[in-house]
Each structure stands twice: as C-alpha cells, then as structure tokens.
Symmetry: C3
Subunit: 339 residues, 3 copies
C-alpha cells in the first residue's frame, strides 16, 4: 500500500514521500523493509530510521528523515493502520460437513460454520457470520450479520447476538444465573432461569467469559460494549453502551452499569448496585454502593478516588501518629504533675 493511501485510511497528515510502499505494521523491535511503526517514544526513532519504511507519530513529535504520518490519536492510528494493512482473511464460507443442524435453521449468505458446530432448532444466523469449530448454538438462538464466534463458544437457548458481535473461545452466553431460594430446612432451591441474554450490535467479549440469562426477562449488554476475558455478568444485569471492562470483572445480579463506564480489571460490582454513566472504576475495586455519573472511584469498598488517596496517605502516617501521641501523653502527664 502507498503511504499516501495509508495516511488517508488512518486520517493523518502525510509528511514525506507519498509513494513509499508499506506492507505491514510492526513493533519497533521487529521493523524491517516495508514496515510502518507507530512511534510513541521518540527515543526509538534513531534506530527505526535505519530499518523501517515509515513511521506514524504525533503532530508535535520530533522531526524524522523517514516518511511519516502525523496524527494526534496514535492508538486510533494503530487500530486503523492494522485494519488497512492486515485485514485477517475471513474463514471460507460454507457449512462444514460435520455440522449438526436442527430443524427450521435459517442461515444467511456467505456464512461460515466450522467443523463440529452444533446448531439447535429454530436458530437464525445472519449474512457473513462466522462460527468457529465446536461452537454450540442451542435452540432458538439468533446471531446477526457479520458476527464472529470463535471456536468453542456456547450460546444457550433463546439468546441473541447483534450485528458484528465477537465472542472468543470458551465464552458462555446464557448460562443459568445463580438464583436460589432457601427452604425451611436451609436447603438451596433452584429458581429456574427462564429469561435470555441480548447482546446488542458491536458487543465484543473475550475468552472464557460468562453472561448469565435473566431469571425473567433479559440480561442486556448495550451496543458497542467490550468485555475482556473472564468477565462474569450475573443474571438480570443491564449494561449500557460503549462500556469497557478489563479482565476478571464480576458484575453481580441485577446491577446496572451506565453508558461509557470504564472498569479496570478484577473489579467487583455488588448485586442491585447502579454505576452511573461515564463513571470510571479503577482496577481491583469492589463497588458496594451506587456510583454517581462521572465519578472516579477506587478501593474496597469503592470510594471517590481522591478520598481513597487521602485515606491511603493518612494510613501511612498512623505509625508516626502513634509515636507522637505517646510523646504527648508523657508531656501532658508531666505538665499535670507540675505544681
């Protein structure tokens, strides 16, 4: 691809020879002929000038004798350059001979179903969707156009995935939620979970995640939301749009997560709690109470980040405080003894 075309694809300003040919995006360590490198650290530039074909760097970044694309959002540029230069080949379309298909299955055009895919009764699969080997779609599942299900995914009965949804290996959609009543003998009696899961368009979920179906109604994950590996979503949870949760988050039953919420890894949210739009929850937090929109919280239990920092700084001073109070106690006693 000509560098000028790449500049257009990523939306950056071309700075240098438009006709340089670039063939791949590479890490700085791995640059070579045809490589374009996103330069976030100016110190790597000197070495790159000897090997790379071109660079992508910030508008106010250092000058370079390499042809360059200048753009402010380097992370977005990386995403767009990788898409332009390295689009993964789609799996060949077609239904592998080993697939087991139920009754009344409706499959769109150019769909790919890999080896040993099992599809239940009444399932609908949209155009160009790709379903990897060993994935199981139970009865009544609907998968919209351009969705990608990696090998070894399970979508349980009646659940719905929107357009362009991506589910990675090992993920389970529509597992039965952890709903139990206790009887008079304190035994746990299962509450049958008869709701479903709806994943709206552009939801992407990592490996080995689990989203429980609702007890009644719908567990919903909003458009454009991205969940990392091992995210657990309990039954009846409602998640807004464009949310991002890093690996290992656990959202307990009936919690509500607003739009554009960002959560660091291994964060827990207690059941029935609401996290407001645009809130940021730092990694490792435990959210036990409602969080207002736009708040930035941290800690266990989660508190406003500034309060958490103040508490942490104060805690560091407690050993000194203990010594100081012991000193004051002696001095006050001496004063009291003074006639």
């Amino acid at each position: 691809m000509r560098l000028a075309d790449l500049a257009r694809a990523v939306g950056g300003r071309l700075d240098g020879d438009p006709d340089v040919e670039v063939v791949r995006v590479s890490a700085p360590d791995d640059a070579g002929p045809g490589a374009v490198v996103v330069v976030s650290d100016a110190r790597m530039l000197a070495r790159l000038e000897a090997v790379a074909a071109a660079v992508i760097l910030a508008p106010d970044g250092p000058p370079t004798r390499l042809p360059a694309i200048r753009i402010a959002n380097l992370r977005l540029a990386l995403a767009l350059a990788l898409r332009a230069l390295g689009p993964p080949a789609p799996p060949p379309s077609g239904i592998h001979a080993t697939c087991v298909l139920g009754a009344r299955v409706r499959v769109g055009t150019d769909v790919s179903l890999g080896p040993y895919v099992v599809v239940g009764d009444g399932v609908e699969i949209g155009d160009r969707a790709a379903v990897g080997a060993h994935t199981v779609l139970e009865d009544g599942v609907r998968i919209a156009a351009d969705a990608v299900l990696h090998p070894r995914v399970t979508v349980r009965h009646g659940c719905v995935a929107g357009a362009r949804v991506v589910l990675q290996s090992g993920t389970v959609i529509g597992s039965d939620g952890f709903g139990y009543a206790q009887d008079a003998g304190r035994r746990h009696v299962l509450i049958p979970q008869v709701g479903v899961v709806v994943l709206e368009d552009d939801v992407e979920i990592g490996a080995n995640a689990a989203v429980d179906r609702a007890t009644l109604g719908v567990t919903r994950i909003g458009r454009g939301t991205k969940l990392d590996n091992y995210v657990h979503i309990g039954h009846n949870v409602q998640i807004g749009e464009d949310v991002a949760m890093a690996a290992g988050c656990r959202i307990a039953g009936s919690a509500r997560i607003g739009n554009r919420v960002l959560m660091g890894g291994m964060t827990g949210v207690a059941d029935h709690v609401t996290v407001g739009d645009d809130a940021v929850v730092l990694g490792g937090s435990e959210v036990t109470r409602d969080i207002p929109p736009g708040a930035v919280v941290a800690g266990r239990p989660a508190r406003p980040r500034m309060e958490e920092r103040r508490r942490d700084a104060a805690a560091r001073r407690v050993p000194g405080l203990l010594r100081e109070v012991a000193d004051l106690r002696r001095r006050v006693a001496r004063l009291e003894r003074t006639p």
Copy 2:
C-alpha cells in the same frame, strides 16, 4: 393451570378466584394475560392490576383486587411457581449418532447424550441423565441418575457426580491440581495428581468453573452445595453440604469448608484453612486463617464483620486525627513554655 393448583404447588394461601387461569410467571415489566407476578415492591401493584392475571405477595402485603397467593417466603414461591408453570422440556432421550463411546460403557434408561459427546472406557451414566453436546467424560467417570451436564463440560478420568448434579458449560471437573515440588535448582517438579473428585447428590456448578482432583484421595463437594460461575476449587478441598459460593470464589488446596457456609463473590480462601459450619464470608474477602462456626467475616484479611466495620470507621477519622494531634502538639508546647 388454575390459580388454586398453583397456590397448592407453592404452598401459599389463596386469596381470590381459584379458577383464574395462569400460564406463566413474568417480570413486572412484562406482565400480560395469563401472567402471575411475584410482588416484592407494593408500588408496582397498581400497574399490575391492569395487566396481570394474578399476583403472589406477602401475607402482610397490601390488599389487591387481583386474585393472589399469599406466602411469606416470596423467593421460594418464585422458585416453585416457575417449576410448576415452566418446567423446561427435557432433551429427547437417546444417544446421538455422533457420540464416541468407549468400551464397557453402561448407560441407564432414558439417557440423553447430545452430538459429539465423547465417553471413555468404563463410564457409567445413570437413568434420565442428560449430557449436552461436546461434553467429554473420560475413562471411569460415573454420572448418577437425573444429572444434567450442559454442552462443553469436561469430567476427567475417575471422577464421580451424584444424582441430580448440574454442571454448566465450560466447567472442568477433575483437572490436575497445582502441586509442585521445588528441586535443588529451584525448578518446579510436578507432583502427579492421582486422586479424584466426588460431587455428592444435588451439587450444582455454574459455567466455566474448575474443581481440581486430589493429589491422593478425594476432593469432595457435599450434598446440595451450589457453586456459581468461575468458582475454583483446589486439590484436596473438602466442602460440606448446602454451601453456596457466588461467582469467582477461589478455594485453595486442602481448605475445609463446613456445612451451610455462604460466601459472597470473589472471595479467596487460603490453603489448609478451615471455615466453620454456618459461617458467612462477605464478598471480596480473603480468608487467611480459620473461621469459627457461625462467624460473619469480611475484609482482606477477613475479620469479624463488626471489627472490620470499626476499623473502617476508625480509618475514616485518621485525617481528622492528624489535624487534631498537630493542634495538641502546638498547645502542649505552648503550655510547656508557660512559666
């Protein structure tokens, strides 16, 4: 179903027309003709009166002109009503043509084995058990009557699941525990894990969980115990009866958990620790020492809940304390200077 029959099924008192026909339990938002709704919040009653066929509510709940079932344990009523009205259709019995069966397999009556189920040598499967697509039962596994294994479960060699056990997708029973010795060169030398896992009757385990086999002997999960998604049970762990653990709990090797223990999500229990009968461990705790029977603990490390609260409340007052001690220091110094 007549409302009178439903009242009998849930064990509640009928209040109104016994002949009203109910066909499903619904969420309040989703009520309609034939719907019965469990009313935990009286404010929803007015709206429901316009749409629902009947309600289930507390004996001391508000009056209503809808036919009603009155019962104290609303959660148990929900479980029983869902069972009465919405029993999930069992999968058709039979062994799918694509199953791979080993030698000396014994299969009971009315068993269902889904597509691509792989069954090792000497496996026994009890009457009416249902095994979902792609599930693997290694050599010597025994699954008792009425057990339900969802698609994509692995039960490794020699492990045992009792009657009515439920295992959800992605769960692994009998993985090799994390047992290593260190040799003189500080390399990790695997300790072969030659024990098994026994899941007693009525154990239910969520999606993507893992229960490690014992090094020697048995990792045991007691009758009626329920484990949510992502629960990790280390090798040699002994878990009592009627325990409930929410998502993401991690029980390290050789820990002992008593009967009727309740654990909130993402709780860790260190190796060789004992948690006494009827203890309650709040979510996000890290149990590093033995917990006596009946205790309620929280925090990292876990402490009695009241102590944890006192510590938390005290911690909040440290910044004020720092200011106050600074003030006292000035005043004591002034007193000391006073002739």
Copy 3:
C-alpha cells in the same frame, strides 16, 4: 517395586528392609498393603505402622519400625515417588477417525489425536504429543514433542507450544487481547491483534486459563513456568522462567514478570509493570508499581510485606488512638484553663 528401588528413584536413604514390595503412594487415611506414605506429621506414624508397607520421612523424623526412606525434601519425594509408582498410561497413539485435519499438517511419530480434534492448515505436532478430544489447533500452530493438551483446549492461529508443555481443559492460547482505541465519539475501536503466543519448553497451564496473543510481536511465557487454573495473561506480557502463579492471577497487558517469581492466588498485576526476578507476591495482592528483584510484597496496592504488616498493625490501634486523643484533648484543655 522394591523399596530399595524406590529409594533410589526419589534420591533418599533407605532405612530398613530393601526388599519390601511397594505398589502405590497413598494418603495416610487410605494406607493398606503395599502402600507407601509420605509422613509430614509424626503423630500419624503410630497408626500407619499397623497398615502401611513403608513410609517416607525426614532424616530427623522419629524412629519407626516400618521400613523407611529418609529424605529432606518430602514434597519432592512425593513427586518422585508418584512418578516412579504411578506413571499414568499414555493415551494410545494414533489419529482418531473423527479428527478434521487441514492441509500441510505435519504429525510426528507416536502422536495421539483424540476424537473430534480439529487441526488447521500448516499445523506441526511433535513426536509423542497427545491432544485430547475436542481440542482445536488453528492454522499455523506448532506443538513440540511430548506436549500434552487435555480435552477441550483452543490454540489459536500461529501460536507455539514447546516440548513437554501441558495445557488443561478449557484453556485458550492466543485469544485476541483487549486492545481498543477510542475514537472522537468515545466509541471503542478494536486494535487488531496480529502477534502470537510462545509457550517455551516445560510450561504447564491449568484449566480454563487464557493467554492473549500480542498486538504485534510475541506474548511469551518462559521455560518451566507453571500457571494454575484461571490465570489470565494479557497481550504483550513477558514472563520469565520457572515462575509459578496460583489460581486466578491476572497479568495485564505489557507487564514483565522476572524469573522464578512466585505469586499467590488472585493477584493482579497492572499493565506495563515490571516484577523483578525472584520476587514473591502474596495472594490477593494488587501490584500497581514495579517490584524490585527479590522483594516480598503484599496488599492492595502491593507494598513490602513488612511495611504492609506495620500498616496493618497500626490500623488496628486507631480506635484506641481516637480514644486517647480525646482524653488528651480534655486534659490539655484543663491545663489551659489552669491559671
């Protein structure tokens, strides 16, 4: 096996009849004819003398009338005795008739591929490797000699596993990392992940773990490293040799973990952080900053263990401090009022 032969196999000193026949290693509770028991607690010895054939115990352990092997590293002795007496039968070699093999697949000698294994184009599988039922190896994967992949593993395209690597059920190698840019509308734009994962020789990974491929380049796990169930390794992470991580650890993107690091369960490491060689991170910690080589850290955020203990001990004294300062305040006020 003669006890003298077992003593040689574990590297211990024989103490008693060399010709005693031992057939299995057993737990103390489960000893019987032919059983050899590793005795870590001298109190169990009296009972064992009535039932076991032999014992393994410390050089300075109590005397016993049973034939014994004396050795200092009892844990290593357990590992070696189990290997000597109970080597698991390897699965029969051969490619099951139901395997789906892509083009240009190269398979070594004595390889075992179980039922429904799916192998993509250009995959290489080394001698004596064993791949369990339902495991998926995508295009271009390389598995070296003597590797063992349990049932239901996924290795995604282009990833590499070294000699003797063990991957347990449900584990995913080469999942796409959680890499997103935000566009001007605050929507998450996927950064395609085009790197791979390299697992060096002797890496062993538990059940339901996930190792993300690099964005560019390689996510690397060093020789001899052992990861327990549910360990999450983010994209671009570099892990050294002989590391051990207990269940549920989460290593965020681009973190670097040195050689011989030990991590307790459910520990989080933030992105781009470095943990030095030989560091020890206690369970449940959250590592948010670089950890120097050899350090022992604990807490959230992780601090040197001694500092963490001091803080914890000081925190316990805050309620008393509050009372004491209140008392001092009264006494100082009284002194100030004193003419």
